[in-house]
């Protein structure tokens, strides 16, 4: 065959190479304008190529996107992020020690779930992917409940049916996480359409990874959101990686993901996903926009997947070990901490104390949760539950299978 002319996207750096983030388009903090929420999408096209940032290198909040939150709010945000991280750390260790079958951390991306959760109203409906556990922290789901899910124990909200981290919370208005990538994205738009049809001003928010945005569902969501001007916030979390594939394979080589927005007539913003203040401000803007009938917003969060994809993954096979240290947008926890210290509302001591407090909180929750059983240790859920909720009422063929299993188990 003649030599191939196929273009193949490049990895920014492989194992043993030096991380090279020069491909990233950055804007200085404070530089990007903040248009009115009712701006037509066509007038903010260029924003898709900028990067909204509030925190500058000296930990100051600057520019028109500065959300002017009370220090207390920022402290609460910091706490939620730190709790998310403490929780992730502990669960990761529990997986390593064989107590949990699987886990996914959000290390390095905590600002997104937490700041966005805080910027929305409780009645707003959230359709997360699997890396926004911060939303559960913000909305106050007891850690014990989350751990029971991870353990598939007798208090598992999923009744043993889902892999760890596939939470849901009807009363907290957080939708069920699906193992199938991207499917929730257009569902959130349908939810938002229904909110509009019913005349409420609730908005929906949903999250997708940059890798998952390759799925059909992304297109359907964008299109339906645009056609019906649905009150929805479409978050695309660009953490640069989809398991082993670099963001170029999802279409990020030649343009930003935010720029998909304008193509559909949707405002597309690009935000520093590791900047709590910027994420909060952008989310507020998009929510207000949606609530006031000005339609959807696509937000690309530029962040980095600091950890392995999941506990089943080994990133040393496909990227440099020290890449996160070279990531130009830093660590979201450190940055908010630095800002709070810079404005005199936090200290290293308070930080250490809070770290210890949160770790203790996680430990206490873990200790309680395991008393309700673990995947392999009693007490266990009744396997009969396997046959429930397939339908609202159990049809005959499932009743028969249920009985058959019972007989099988009684045999011993």
């Amino acid at each position: 065959m003649r030599p191939s002319r196929l273009h193949v996207p490049r990895y920014h750096a492989g194992p043993g190479e030096v991380a090279d983030f020069s491909y990233l388009k950055l804007s200085p903090a404070g530089e990007v304008q903040r248009p009115d929420v009712n701006v037509p999408a066509a007038e903010v096209v260029t924003m898709a190529n900028q990067l909204i940032r509030v925190l500058d290198d000296r930990h100051q909040a600057v520019g028109p996107w500065h959300p002017h939150l009370e220090p207390e709010e920022l402290q609460v945000g910091l706490r939620h992020m730190m709790l998310t991280r403490a929780f992730d750390d502990r669960m990761q260790r529990m997986q390593r020690s064989g107590k949990i079958s699987f886990y996914i951390r959000s290390l390095g991306e905590e600002a997104i779930g937490v700041a966005q959760g805080m910027a929305l109203r409780p009645g707003d409906m959230l359709f997360p992917a699997y890396r926004q556990q911060g939303l559960y922290m913000v909305r106050g789901r007891p850690l014990v409940d989350l751990i029971c899910q991870l353990l598939s124990n007798t208090r598992d909200m999923c009744k043993g049916r889902q892999l760890p981290i596939m939470y849901h919370w009807r009363d907290g208005n957080i939708f069920s996480i699906s193992g199938n990538l991207a499917t929730q994205f257009p569902q959130a738009v349908g939810w938002a359409m229904a909110a509009a049809i019913q005349g409420t001003d609730d908005v929906a928010a949903t999250w997708i990874g940059e890798g998952s945005s390759a799925e059909a569902d992304f297109h359907h969501a964008m299109l339906f959101a645009s056609v019906y001007q649905a009150p929805v916030i479409l978050n695309l979390v660009n953490n640069q990686w989809a398991i082993s594939t670099f963001q170029g394979f999802a279409g990020g080589e030649n343009q930003t993901f935010a720029s998909r927005g304008p193509g559909y007539g949707i405002a597309g913003l690009r935000v520093d996903g590791n900047d709590f203040l910027a994420v909060h401000a952008v989310t507020r803007w998009a929510a207000e926009r949606a609530r006031n009938g000005h339609g959807p917003t696509l937000i690309e969060h530029v962040t980095y997947r600091a950890a392995a994809h999941s506990t089943s993954d080994d990133p040393s096979r496909y990227r440099p070990r020290d890449d996160y240290e070279r990531w130009p947008l830093g660590d979201p926890v450190e940055r908010l901490k630095g800002h709070l210290i810079a404005i005199g509302e936090w200290s290293e001591d308070r930080h250490s104390a809070l770290t210890a407090e949160l770790e203790a909180q996680v430990t206490a929750a873990w200790k309680e949760a395991v008393t309700y059983g673990t995947l392999n240790e009693a007490p266990r859920l009744d396997p009969h539950l396997m046959f429930e909720d397939v339908f609202k009422e159990m049809p005959e063929h499932l009743q028969r299978q249920d009985a058959e299993l019972r007989a099988e188990r009684q045999e011993g």
Binding site: M157, C158, R161, P186, Q187, G190, H220, V227, F391, P395
Partner: protein
């Protein structure tokens, strides 16, 4: 009571449900302003407004996904897929999401979505306007699957489907929209007004999902079938002079096994008939289950009559369609078996 064809009966069901329940919304391609390519939703947008009866982009996967989200937000969506042949782009949302949501969230979330879609051949539609894909939905845990064979059932089952909190895939055999086609394309079309099941109450009523109907009692052999083939089987049994008990399955999931089993135990013989391709089709489930439950009563093998295992060819529609002759041959074979 009124005379209705199947399209009118379906329209009436949606009209009634839109009127009774403000949570009911209808969505699909060409279904609003225009009233649907088969006119099944004719007049509904004018009557209930364009926010209750929505035209959508041509994206079956998006339609189902949006319907799921609407269902989660308290609405009761009825989505139309213009032809069953075009339901595959929505397969992931149906199988991975619609069917699984209640289960994976332990009952906290569910989406009471009905998906209506015209199926089956006999209208010169070629390989992409003729398919009967019920088998690939019946195999999916968490979906109810329904196919009426007449206007009365169509309306009653559709109302049941819309009120059902579980997802229902509702197949409409389009060849019998206008009349009870018996498999003879060369004969004059019979309208529903000439058939007792064309008598349809104007108001609200339900036909339960999960119950077969014995269309015709008989003693010699049980014919298990559904959709258009009900009428073909009735005619085939008559022409073959066989006293067949003909059962319209109506609901593939949940399946009314008891009625089927009781009948086959009585007759000792069974033929399973559907228009869908044979290999790996729903007929396999019917045959296997009946065999398991009725083995000691069977006097002959259970035979299946179905579409050939090819796409539905435009030029050979009537050679493809499992018509009276093919059904009658199978009936004779099971009767001769000794």
């Amino acid at each position: 009571m009124a005379q209705m064809n199947m399209i009118q009966a379906l329209n009436s069901a949606m009209d009634i449900m839109l009127g009774r329940d403000p949570k009911v919304v209808i969505l699909g391609e060409d279904i609003g302003y225009f009233g649907g390519v088969f006119r099944t939703t004719d007049g509904l947008q004018r009557k209930y407004g364009e926010h209750r009866v929505l035209d959508t982009p041509i994206a079956e996967g998006g339609i189902v996904a949006a319907a799921i989200g609407m269902g989660v937000n308290g609405l009761r969506p009825v989505a139309e897929i213009q032809f069953a042949d075009y339901i595959y782009p929505a397969y992931d949302q149906i199988v991975s999401e619609l069917a699984r949501l209640r289960y994976r969230s332990a009952g906290e979330f569910f989406a009471p979505v009905t998906i209506r879609t015209p199926c089956g051949g006999g209208i010169r539609g070629g390989q992409t306007h003729s398919q009967s894909p019920e088998g690939i939905f019946a195999h999916v845990s968490g979906l109810k699957v329904v196919m009426p064979s007449n206007p009365y059932d169509a309306k009653g089952l559709l109302i049941s489907a819309i009120e059902d909190d579980d997802p229902v895939i509702f197949f409409e055999p389009k060849r019998i929209y206008n009349g009870p086609f018996d498999g003879q394309p060369d004969q004059a079309a019979v309208p529903w007004s000439a058939h007792p099941k064309g008598e349809v109450p104007d108001g609200y009523y339900k036909v339960p999902i999960g119950r077969c109907e014995v269309v015709q009692a008989g003693t010699a052999v049980t014919v298990v079938t559904y959709g258009t083939m009900v009428h073909v089987c009735v005619a085939a049994a008559r022409s073959a002079g066989i006293d067949a008990e003909i059962i319209d399955v109506r609901s593939m999931v949940p399946l009314d096994v008891d009625t089927l089993v009781e009948s086959v135990r009585r007759t000792g013989r069974c033929v399973v008939v559907h228009e869908a391709t044979r290999f790996g089709g729903f007929g396999g489930e019917l045959s296997a289950t009946i065999q398991e439950e009725c083995f000691w009563h069977l006097e002959a093998p259970i035979l299946r009559v179905a579409g050939w295992d090819t796409p539905y060819p435009h030029a050979f529609e009537w050679e493809y369609f499992p018509g009276q002759k093919r059904v009658a041959n199978a009936l004779k074979r099971v009767m001769e078996a000794a």
